[in-house]
């Protein structure tokens, strides 16, 4: 088993470099340069000034050289400086040491995603099981229909409607951002309550679509399991139905969920551009989107690299999870 893990780990290294190489070249293929923001369609700029800018950013060098320089820094865990006008180190933008932990971009996105993932699992799995065990019942039909409606609802539209309802007409919840303007003057419990109130709508909206997908997944996985012979055997033994479903059925039906969990690891740091835009939340989605639009290569590459590492780790974790959960794989 140790050898298997070691092999898996070694395999990840070339994969990782392959991913960064591809990402690096692909983002440089997109038309435009980081200096465009300052120089495009700005009659005040002279050609010399534009060249100067490009030199300052190292954009005059061949792209292979640029990749080499980037790689040299990254192996030392240095993602370099952002190409935006503030020239801040990229890591400071993602994880700003000057700000409280709760306000750092990575943390904001991570906490929203973890919360909404918890909600998705807590709601979707029971829904999936019940619709499988009560297949074609009224409950199944209702959940199936509502799940599809949920799946088809555009997130930004739902978000705006909810903001209007709860933020404006009922005035129960704040409309945007992470905290209120008077946050600093609040007591400790007041601060916690303030942040919680601000998180309710974003977390709800971002879990909304996910519930639909996962519950369908769970339903079909469960349906497949309860058709198996060992379930019939369990029933034939005279076990109570709850035990059949939850002990024998559920444990097997959950296996594919491990894969899903592994795949969702990189998603934990990828914020949704749309929700962050609408709710005015300073998270990773907004940062990544802006960095792509401005062709801020170091920042784009840093986020892609972190994403790549998490994807690889997620896959590894899923494999390890399978090894523990499924004896068939362990034997191989």
């Amino acid at each position: 088993m140790t050898i298997y893990l070691l092999k898996r780990f070694l395999e990840m290294i070339p994969t990782f470099f392959g991913i960064t190489l591809l990402s690096f070249f692909i983002i440089h293929l997109a038309p435009g340069k980081p200096t465009d923001l300052l120089s495009e369609m700005n009659p005040k700029i002279t050609p010399e000034a534009r060249e100067k800018l490009e030199q300052l950013y190292g954009l005059d060098k061949p792209i292979a050289v640029q990749y080499g320089m980037w790689l040299k820094r990254v192996v030392k865990l240095d993602f370099g400086e952002s190409f935006s006008t503030d020239r801040r180190p990229v890591m400071e933008k993602i994880w700003d040491p000057e700000q409280p932990l709760l306000d750092r971009r990575l943390f904001v996105t991570f906490s929203i995603n973890v919360l909404s993932m918890l909600i998705i699992f807590l709601i979707a799995i029971p829904i999936g099981i019940s619709s499988a065990t009560h297949r074609y019942s009224l409950f199944d039909k209702i959940t199936t229909t509502s799940v599809f409606i949920g799946f088809a609802t555009p997130g930004f539209w739902l978000a705006l409607l909810l903001i209007m309802l709860f933020g404006l007409h009922l005035d129960w919840l704040p409309i945007s951002q992470l905290k209120s303007m008077d946050y600093d003057s609040l007591s400790m419990s007041g601060k916690i309550w303030d942040r919680t109130r601000h998180l309710i709508l974003p977390v709800f909206v971002s879990s909304f679509g996910g519930i639909a997908g996962l519950s369908r997944y769970m339903r079909s996985s469960m349906l497949e399991v309860i058709r198996q012979d060992y379930i019939t055997t369990a029933r034939a033994k005279g076990l109570p139905e709850t035990k059949v479903i939850y002990k024998h059925g559920l444990r097997n039906a959950l296996l594919p969920i491990i894969t899903l969990l592994g795949l969702s690891v990189p998603g934990l740091i990828g914020g949704s551009v749309i929700f962050e835009q609408i709710f005015g939340i300073p998270g990773m989605g907004a940062l990544f989107y802006m960095s792509v639009m401005m062709r801020d290569y170091p920042l784009v590459m840093a986020i892609l690299t972190i994403g790549a590492i998490l994807t690889l780790i997620g896959n590894l974790l899923a494999d390890i999870g399978y090894m523990f959960a499924d004896p068939r794989i362990r034997v191989k």
Partner: protein, 545 residues
């Protein structure tokens, strides 16, 4: 996505004002005579992006300039009638040959850290902006300076090789930096960019990246302590969310979209609680021909297309009437705007006659004009995310179809649009806009020497008369002579139509009605921010310093 592109476009705004415009029409409550000015309260505004750097000469985005504009001042600024007036400068002299400008600075102005502002700070800022290591897009104007010198503590002099009329206004808020804090430091990396010290009406108190920027009033501001104690910018990217925040009381001012101005704020609630303003901004939207294209080389074709487009209709439909048809590259109401140029009111017969003269007719009766066997078909390019331009293109497509011209519309992402199509001249027709501030010099856009790659006369317009007039206009400080040159340029452009000038949009800001002392003028409402106040009984926030 729309906001991002709007931000990109705003970059071409010349950085001289605070991005506030002038005001013509207001509605809502007028300020009562009994309400006394009082200190206190806060004003909450929205930024659609996170500012990147608060040093004006380094900033490229409009959010940064909005905030930095409250912190820094320049030597000169525009007065409400668009003449140039002193800001940090008490007065200035221009030598008779127009080559030397001598600024006399106001005495006793202090940076917010208590150190006095002197001519050395201007010199330091000038040296910084022309420094090779300073990554700034605004260098060009300052490289024209032949010699800059500090004559004494309060006198600063610059000399030019040739008289350069726009030079005076370049000594706005871009160049003044505190020497005592920055000397010997690399400003692109210094902490100053995130924690600046200026001498403007407000000073930075707190900047939580991605969330809010809080500024407190500068009690020693040299034009008088601002009445409003605090200016809060909340970073809210989505315009729909901004509007809901405004409605719920979370914002005190924002710029409205045409539909918000006309429809969504047309109710009792807004009339009672807000004051709307409306005034033309110094920018215009145009349809530009590729003048190297054989069809568009013919002036008659360009004029025919102009007759076939109903500008009033575009303003009514696209802008909900919040703007006016453009007649040339300048905004009505400015001293250089010429109202008496050739106009092209919608006239389908004139359009058809001109096209016929130019050799276009429908020989095969398929409804599309043709010439030498080629149908009259072309593509209008414009950037993605700007609905006003997209809708304008759609109306033009429909109108031109009526005279037998088949138009396709293609929307492109900004960077790809500029790099792959504009720069390489791979276009037939584009819809774009210019935001050029209040300086009438448009040498870079119309001069025939500016047609190279990455230059701004990308439609390849060339007219020796216009070249000469542009040269004349920027080489004299005499307003009457300049006016004459720019009047003539407008006449020529209106006749030759390298662009079809479509419309000048209005700025449509809204401010909560508890703020008094707002006096709309030609340069907008923001110029006298330090005089805005909220009467004691109406104050909403109590500010503890």
């Amino acid at each position: 996505m729309k906001r991002v592109i709007v931000t990109f476009l705003l970059l071409s705004v010349i950085v001289f004002t605070n991005n506030e415009g002038m005001a013509a029409e207001t509605s809502g409550m007028a300020s009562g005579a009994l309400e006394q000015p009082a200190y206190g309260d806060a004003i909450v505004a929205a930024l659609s992006g996170n500012p990147s750097v608060l040093i004006p000469m380094l900033a490229g985005d409009s959010a940064s300039h909005d905030v930095a504009g409250l912190i820094f001042n320049g030597l000169v600024k525009y007065d409400t009638d668009l003449s140039v007036t002193g800001d940090l400068a008490e007065s200035w002299e221009i030598s008779p040959d127009g080559l030397v400008i001598t600024f006399h600075l106001k005495k006793g102005i202090k940076w917010t850290d208590g150190v006095e502002f002197t001519a050395d700070d201007v010199m330091f800022g000038y040296k910084t902006i022309i420094d090779e290591k300073t990554a700034t897009p605004y260098k060009g104007d300052y490289l024209q300076v032949k010699k800059a010198e500090v004559l004494d503590r309060y006198t600063f002099r610059v000399a030019y090789d040739k008289p350069f009329a726009p030079a005076l206004t370049t000594w706005g808020s871009l160049v003044v930096l505190p020497k005592h804090l920055l000397e010997g430091k690399d400003i692109t990396k210094s902490k100053f960019a995130r924690n600046p010290v200026g001498m403007g009406p407000y000073k930075l108190k707190k900047w939580a990246a991605g969330q809010e920027v809080v500024l407190d009033s500068n009690r020693d501001y040299f034009e008088g302590r601002p009445f409003i104690d605090r200016y809060i910018y909340r970073i809210i990217p989505d315009p729909a969310t901004q509007f809901i925040e405004l409605r719920a009381g979370g914002l005190d001012r924002m710029g409205l979209t045409p539909i918000q101005y006309k429809k969504q704020t047309d109710n009792e609630f807004f009339r009672k609680n807000f004051r709307k303003f409306r005034y033309p901004v110094p920018s215009y939207t145009y349809m530009g021909f590729n003048l190297r294209h054989p069809w568009f080389k013919d002036k008659r074709v360009r004029q025919a297309i102009a007759y076939a487009i109903d500008k009033e209709e575009i303003v009514d439909v696209v802008l909900f009437g919040l703007g006016r048809p453009a007649t040339g590259p300048y905004v009505p109401g400015t001293w250089y705007y010429n109202p008496d140029v050739r106009q092209y009111e919608y006239d389908i017969n004139k359009a058809q006659r001109l096209l016929k003269e130019a050799g276009w007719s429908d020989t095969d009766n398929n409804g599309i004009l043709d010439k030498d066997g080629k149908p009259f078909e072309f593509t209008i390019l414009t950037n993605m995310g700007n609905n006003l331009r997209k809708n304008t293109a759609t109306i033009i497509q429909w109108r031109l179809r009526k005279i037998g011209i088949n138009v396709r519309i293609r929307l492109l992402e900004w960077s790809a649009f500029i790099n792959e199509f504009i720069d390489k001249r791979r276009f037939e027709m584009v819809i774009l806009g210019w935001s050029l501030g209040f300086e009438p010099d448009q040498y870079d856009i119309w001069h025939s020497s500016k047609t190279g790659e990455k230059e701004f006369n990308f439609v390849s317009y060339s007219n020796p008369d216009v070249d000469e007039l542009l040269e004349k206009g920027r080489r004299t400080f005499d307003i009457e002579k300049r006016k004459k040159a720019y009047y003539r340029i407008q006449e020529i452009l209106a006749d030759e139509l390298p662009y079809i000038f479509l419309y000048v949009p209005d700025a449509t800001p809204v401010v909560h009605s508890r703020f008094k002392g707002i006096k709309p003028t030609t340069i907008g409402i923001g110029y006298n921010l330090h005089e805005w106040y909220v009467p004691k009984n109406l104050q909403r926030y109590s500010i503890k310093p």
